[in-house]
Amino acid sequence: LKPLSFINLRGVSIYKQLKIEEFLLRNTTENYLIFNYSPNISRTNIVMGFSGKRDELVNVDAVKLFNNSLSKDEMELRKVSLIRRYTGGGTVMVDNATVFVSFIMNSADSSCQPYPRDIMSWTETLYKPVFKKILHSSNNNFSLREHDYVLDEKKIGGNAQTITKNRFTHHTSFLWNFNAEKMSFLQMPKKRPAYRGDRPHTDFITGLHDKISSVDVFEKELHEEIQRHYQVTYHPHNSGIYEQYLEQLQLVDSNGKALFTPRTVIESLD
């Protein structure tokens, strides 16, 4: 079995996680699964794909209005930021009710071809038995529908990828729950999956919070499933591994220039 590190990054912001992911993708030759559910990080972020056009995807005025309504004390905890991530794909609202699961893999170790559809199908084979075990109701059916993970007709997770010559990232933001009010910060995208039809966000998505016992159960069963395919080393959130990665992200050369410049950036709302 090929080795894989299963890393829990609880407590790490999505912005920092994305930069670490990009670093691991481009600077290592190892396999990783990153799992991050951080209910104590109250900030909401809008995360756009690499080529996303801000003004077509985000209600910028609504976000600015919300941010301007916050007091100085509230800003640090509640300000909505816009992040451009290193992977393709669409725009998502993420917050303390989002569960992030990211695969960063050698293509040769994944039993799929390094193309978008093949990678998606490969991940479906890993998730299907996990959801079969953890969903309360047998009436809820997990599947990959076009590019999304769904329970029947409703989206529970959005996917995005970056594919390099020998490696790829496939990452997912699963909805544990969602704030309908904040969904209004997103515009209806021009390109939508056919199965969505004209449904607004709130009719198109659903959370997992009332369909499985806990995020811990999800992580545990996912860990067990991955162990059937890989030689897994588990790194809990307090293992110190996050700090190691952060240190490597900050390395500079003799001229003070960063050795690695991630494409993931915080975008201005102005």
Binding site: S51, T87, G88, G90, Y115, P116, A160, Q161, T162, K165
Partner: protein, 113 residues
């Protein structure tokens, strides 16, 4: 059909990494293992991605083009092609300098496939 839309023209410094090569009249065409092709005429190469790769990517929504004048080493990523959910790196088959890019891809990335 083996070829799809051109991405860039590159002045060749050093060619490496080909797995297949054949001649079509005065043009040599080479392919990489990562599905880029280069059509070589003299010391200028025209680079793109194969139909096979373009088909597997799905609908292309964005092409990240290199800057004219930029230099790349053989095997180095010089741009990316983004489909609905994936950004896929494109690798230079040769070392060289970008002479020209296919600007039509900026406004209409879908012409790739």
């Amino acid at each position: 059909r083996m070829f799809t839309t051109t991405v860039a023209k590159i002045a060749i410094v050093k060619a490496v990494g080909q797995i297949k090569s054949f001649r079509l009249l005065s043009t040599t065409i080479k392919f990489t293992a990562s599905h880029e092709y280069i059509k070589i005429q003299g010391n200028v190469g025209t680079v793109g991605i194969t139909d096979h790769a373009a088909g597997l990517l799905g609908d292309v929504v964005f092409v990240d083009l290199p800057a004219v004048g930029a230099r790349f080493a053989a095997g180095e990523s010089f741009g990316s092609v983004e489909s609905v959910k994936a950004a896929s790196d494109v690798y230079s088959p040769v070392s060289g300098e970008i002479l020209e890019v296919n600007a039509a891809l900026e406004a209409n990335p879908g012409i790739v496939n």
